[in-house]
Structures are given as structure tokens and as C-alpha cells.
């Protein structure tokens, strides 16, 4: 789960990573009051879960209370890459002398945290790695050992830093690693970390992504997933416990596995555009598939629904009852075509057929999709 900058900034501050004074505001008036407390000039920053805020006009300097209010008003009315801005962060403007990059992520191949330090901050690290690889120091950290302070200092020195600066930045990197581990982050990044005219070191941005699977052990963070999802249908999916991704097409898709769902999208995509991706996970019940149908059918402009289920861990015959119950209570004109294979498939077919669902029993999704394509041609 991605954190807003102010949330990550709070965690950084708690764990001793230096951040400038900031306040979060959700109205122009609040922004103005915050700026008056902090002192001018300030930076007003849109709080959205996407990069490229600066280029989109979401980060602006304000010199006075009036200007802060005006700037905040403008930013709060805008949206950035399709995401509405509901909050701004008001932060003391720093006088920057130099920018650095500190980041920690996970290498999926080695299964180790990767710690990255660069003397070029404020730009994308991928870009620096391509154009100035000598300015990027990267280190695979054995998870059992962790990143020690001396290791962090070695990295800083390798990047060409020395003396007090090397020690200060190593200390911040060491703390950032602590944040990364403590909060089960998949990304913890400061871009840029700056040295100011006064010789302070400050994190001028805070980026964190926390592993969704670990949220159960971080109740203190009080992160609401639903607060971060823009699409109401995707929000609903989260509430009923399935993965729903809203797309821009006309065929609703239900699948009992992620890989199968993506392949189904690929196959349907040969002729029609998928309206959504929906993966039920491994806990299919009558109740769940009832809600799944309710959700999928809410999408506007649907021309058909294609259901693709496997009975591995899933009890597809129970799911079939939920599909049928929904359709009996909410009759529809569009074709609902289902394919269901695996444990207890015959029973599942019977339930679906008796409930008016068109069942295709081919082992290949392609053949079942062709049935759907023909069906839609006929309906035309």
C-alpha cells in the first residue's frame, strides 16, 4: 500500500530521519494558517499517490499568507494524472545546496533488500543509473544481517562522500533501513535528501510502499486501503474481498485465479475489450460469488459476462449457487457464459445450467471465448 508523502514523512520523523516542519491541510484556510505558523517562504505540495507532481503543477512555492491560500485553493481543485487532490502538505522551503538520493527496495530474484545511494538527487534514479552509473552505489543486504552503520558509511564513501557529510548521510541511510524493516516496506525512498545552506540534512520527499500482506501487524498505522482507491467499483471489490480492476470495455470477466484472469483478458481482447479484471481468490463461497456478480454487473455498457472458474482449492459448486441466485433475483438480457473445470465440475455445470447460465465445457478458454463471440454476433 502506497503511503501519502505526509504519512511517510510522519514515520520518518518518528524514526529519526530528519524532515522539514510540515502540516497537512485540506482547505485553503488551513493551508494559510499552517504557513503562518511555519514561516515563509513555504512549499505547497499536492498529496496524491503518483509521481510527476512537480511537472503537473502540484508543487508550488508561496511567499505570503494570501499566496499560500490562493495556491492551495488552486491545487486542491486540480487533479494529477486523474487523481483528485484532497490534501496539501505545507512545508518550510529549504535553501538547497546539494541533492542526494537514498532508496531501499526488494530484489525479487535474490530475495534481499537493495540499498541505493546516489550523489545525484532530485532526478529519477533509473535515469542516473543509465547516464551516470558511477554516481550510483547499490548494495544487496543479507536480510539476516541487515544494514549496519559501518556498511552504510562504506556506501557513502564509495559514492565519493567523506568526513562529516559521509557520516551524516550514512546515519540517515541506516535509519531509513530501520524504517524499511520495521514497517515491512517494499519501497522506502528519499528523493531528494538535501544539504541546506545552514548545513542541515533534510528529506524533502518521503516515499513508502508498505507490503499489503503485512498490514495485519501494523494496526498502529491505521491505513485505510479504501481511502486510496479512486474507482468506486474497485473499492467495492476490496470490500467484498476480491481483486477488481476496472477497465474500459464491454465484457465483464470473472476468474478464479490471477493468471487465468489475465489470460482470459488476453483472449477476450482478441475481439472485444474487457470491462474489468476480477479474481476471486481461493475462498469462493455462494455468498462471495453472489457479491461478485453484483459488482461485475454494475459496470455500465456491459455486453456479456464471461465466467472462468477452476475447482482447485475453490468450491466451485458453491460459487455456482451464488451466481444463479444473483441472476434469479436480477434477471439480465446480456449473455452470461460460464466455464468451470476441476473438482466437482459436473455438479457445478448442472447448477449453472438449471439457473439459466450458458455453460461451456471445453478445456481451452479460447474455445469457450469463441462460443461467446458467436453468441454476441448472433445477438447483434
Amino acid at each position: 500500500m502506497k503511503l501519502y508523502e505526509f504519512e511517510a514523512g510522519d514515520l520518518f520523523r518518528q524514526e529519526g530521519v530528519p524532515v522539514p516542519d510540515f502540516t497537512v491541510a485540506n482547505s485553503p484556510r488551513q493551508a494559510r494558517e499552517a504557513a503562518e505558523k511555519i514561516g515563509f517562504p513555504v512549499v505547497v505540495k499536492a498529496q496524491v499517490l503518483t509521481g510527476g507532481r512537480g511537472l503537473a503543477g502540484g508543487v508550488q512555492i508561496a511567499e505570503s499568507p494570501e499566496q499560500t491560500e490562493e495556491t492551495a485553493r488552486r491545487i486542491l481543485k486540480s487533479s494529477i494524472r486523474g487523481l483528485p487532490v484532497n490534501r496539501v502538505m505545507v512545508v518550510k522551503k529549504a535553501e538547497v545546496v546539494q541533492e542526494f538520493y537514498l532508496g531501499i527496495t526488494i530484489d525479487g530474484l535474490t530475495g534481499c533488500p537493495v540499498v541505493i545511494l546516489s550523489t545525484a538527487g532530485g532526478v529519477s534514479i533509473e535515469e542516473t543509473a543509465r547516464t551516470h552509473p558511477e554516481m550510483v552505489v547499490s548494495n544487496q543486504v543479507p536480510i539476516s544481517a541487515g544494514l549496519s552503520l559501518p556498511e552504510a558509511e562504506k556506501m557513502a564513501q564509495k559514492a565519493g562522500l567523506y568526513g562529516d557529510e559521509s557520516a551524516r548521510i550514512a546515519d540517515i541511510l541506516h535509519k531509513l533501513y530501520h524504517v524499511f524493516r520495521k514497517y515491512d516496506a517494499s519501497i522506502a525512498e528519499i528523493n531528494p535528501l538535501v544539504r541546506t545552506m545552514k548545513g542541515e540534512y533534510l528529506a524533502l520527499d518521503a516515499k513508502m510502499d508498505i507490503d499489503d500482506s503485512s498490514l495485519f501487524r501494523h494496526p498502529d498505522l491505521q491505513l485505510s486501503a479504501e481511502d486510496r482507491i479512486a474507482s468506486p467499483l474497485e473499492k467495492k471489490g476490496r470490500q467484498i474481498g476480491v481483486t477488481y480492476v476496472e477497465l474500459d470495455g464491454e465484457i465483464g470477466i470473472v476468474s478464479s485465479g490471477a493468471g487465468l484472469g489475465m489470460a482470459t483478458m488476453d483472449i477476450i481482447g482478441r475481439r472485444y475489450r474487457p470491462a474489468n479484471f476480477l479474481e476471486t481468490g481461493g475462498a469462493i463461497s455462494e455468498e462471495l460469488l453472489y457479491h461478485v456478480m453484483e459488482l461485475v454487473m454494475q459496470k455500465k455498457g456491459l455486453r456479456a459476462v464471461f465466467i472462468n472458474l477452476y475447482g482447485g482449492i475453490n468450491l466451485i459448486h458453491e460459487g455456482a449457487r451464488g451466481i444463479v441466485r444473483f441472476l434469479q433475483e436480477h434477471p439480465t438480457d446480456i449473455p452470461v457464459v460460464a466455464r468451470a473445470l476441476g473438482n466437482r465440475q459436473e455438479e457445478t455445470w448442472q447448477i449453472l445450467r438449471e439457473g439459466g447460465v450458458e455453460v461451456v465445457t471445453d478445456t481451452a478458454t479460447e474455445k469457450s471465448a469463441e462460443y461467446l463471440f458467436r453468441r454476441l454476433e448472433k445477438a447483434r
Partner: protein, 289 residues
């Protein structure tokens, strides 16, 4: 022949008294799997489907000679259970559990590799050696014995492709589900290595999907080291950027993790890549002549 699992393998089921554990134990036994024991802390002395249940893995190993274990334990308990199982001397662990914290997966992977224990998962659909044994949730009726080795990041897609192959008369030596978490315990390359060395396997099929770098890394291994032919299908041509597609690791981030990147890497490594799942059948037939 097969890799990792055969009809003699003495299998332990952890979390055997839970809903999924009970149901799957029945299916695994019916398939012919040599399940010798179950473990659920606090439930020692019970029986599930005639299988004796122990409190501790060490007891199951000492008294029943368990050598491989399949996990139906809750995500928060996986890390401790894995350590206990590794310490007890089990050589193969299949973690079916979904939503294992990624930091736990990193720790388990490191712990296991220091002790030479093989794990599959997290979120593995399991492993099946058709006609002999299965550990996990793969439905037996989708597979038949044969000489194709399958490595899949997805459970359901493995069923689909194996059923297609079986319908065309081509069975599988072993089908391995590596899961699609951000940090898989065993990489695609390591599984390719095992199939390359297995005299019962003529060809390997990779079932990949968007996200991560497993396929790219495997492509390099195939180009450099692999002797046997490889066919692949990669799901998710039309996946939007930045959306997690049901699997924790199935996400396109910028230009990383796209099917295009994976397909071109695999093709450079000499792999025939199917455009759609059913095309795998034709490509395998071509390769095997």
C-alpha cells in the same frame, strides 16, 4: 521420472486440521500421495482422514519419517512454521499459503538456502507428479503422466495449459507452482535447472505472467546453460500499468514487468513463446517433432 516428488515421498501436511488442510488432505490421499503425518500445534493425537496429527514437526519426522511438507498454515504463522520445519530436517516445503508478508519471505528464503532446503511458494498451487503424487491444491484430473516439465507462476493457468497438453496426448513429468509473490522461494531458473537434469523430462514449459524479473532471468539461464527445449506463455498483454492483478507480484511498474520485456528476453534465449495458452500445444509438438 520426475523432480522433487514421487509416489514414495513421505509427505507431511501442516495446518491439516483447518478447512483447506482437511479438504486437500482428502484429495491428496485419493490421488495416491504418501501422506504420513499432519501437524497442527495443540491438536496432537487427533486424526484427519486416518492421518495421525502431531503437535510438532520434529515428532512427525522422528515417528513417521516425514521428508516433505505442504503448508496450509495462516500467513502470520508461516515464518515460524518454516523455521521449525527446516530445523526438523524436512528437505522440501510447499507453501500454499497466500499473503505471506514479503519480509518474512525474504527471511525464510535466506534461512532455507543456508541449510539447503527447497521451498516452493509462497502462494504455490503446489507440485504434482501426475499418476504418482501431489502436494498442494492442483486438481488431479487436469494432469496426466508424461515427459513435459511445467513451471508456473499461476495455479489456474497451469491447470489450463496442462489440460490442453493432456487433451493433445502430452502428459507431464512434474508440474511445479512457484507462486507469483514478489519474492518466490525458488526461482524459475532453479526449476529449469532441475528439469534439465531430469531424465524423465524432454521439454520444459514456462507459464509466466506480468511482474518481476523471473522470466528475464530464466531467459538468460536458458541461453547460457539449458540443453532441453523450452516453450513459454506469458499472461497479461493488456494489463494496465501500476495495477496489482490478483497476485502480489503481478504488477507492471513503469517499463518493468511487461509481457513485452519477458517475451523478447525469452525469444532471445531461444524459447518459443505462445501468443495464447492453447498455442503452447502446437509449439510443444513442433519442438518435439
Amino acid at each position: 521420472m520426475s523432480i522433487l516428488l514421487n509416489r514414495e515421498t513421505r509427505v507431511l501436511v501442516q495446518g491439516i486440521t483447518g478447512r483447506a488442510g482437511r479438504a486437500q488432505t482428502k484429495w491428496m490421499l485419493e490421488y495416491g500421495t504418501n501422506i504420513v503425518a499432519g501437524v497442527t500445534p495443540g491438536k496432537g493425537g487427533e486424526e484427519v482422514e486416518g492421518v495421525p496429527v502431531y503437535d510438532r514437526v520434529a515428532q512427525a519426522v522422528a515417528e513417521r519419517g516425514a521428508e516433505a511438507s505442504v503448508f496450509f498454515v495462516p500467513p502470520a504463522a508461516v515464518k515460524d512454521a518454516a523455521r521449525e520445519t527446516i530445523d526438523a530436517g524436512v528437505r522440501l516445503i510447499v507453501v500454499v499459503t497466500e499473503h505471506v508478508p514479503v519480509h518474512d519471505a525474504m527471511e525464510i528464503k535466506a534461512y532455507a538456502s543456508e541449510r539447503n532446503v527447497r521451498l516452493l511458494g509462497p502462494t504455490s498451487p503446489g507440485i504434482i507428479t501426475p499418476g504418482e503424487a501431489k502436494m498442494g491444491i492442483l486438481p488431479g484430473n487436469m494432469f496426466r503422466p508424461g515427459r513435459i516439465g511445467v513451471i508456473s507462476r499461476s495455479g489456474t493457468l497451469a491447470y489450463e495449459i496442462c489440460a490442453n497438453l493432456a487433451a493433445a496426448g502430452m502428459g507431464q513429468s512434474t508440474v511445479t507452482g512457484m507462486g507469483a509473490d514478489p519474492v518466490p522461494f525458488t526461482s524459475m531458473s532453479e526449476l529449469l535447472y532441475l528439469f534439465d537434469a531430469d531424465p524423465g523430462t524432454d521439454l520444459a514449459v514456462i507459464v509466466g505472467e506480468v511482474g518481476g524479473m523471473q522470466e528475464e532471468h530464466a531467459a538468460q539461464f536458458i541461453a547460457d546453460r539449458m540443453i532441453k527445449p523450452v516453450v513459454a506463455y506469458i499472461a497479461g498483454h493488456s494489463v494496465p500499468e501500476g495495477k496489482r492483478m490478483g497476485h502480489a507480484g503481478a504488477i507492471v511498474q513503469g517499463n518493468t514487468g511487461t509481457t513485452r520485456s519477458k517475451i523478447s528476453a525469452l525469444q532471445r534465449g531461444g524459447v518459443d513463446v505462445a501468443e495464447y495458452p492453447l498455442d503452447v500445444v502446437k509449439l510443444v509438438q513442433n519442438k518435439l517433432g
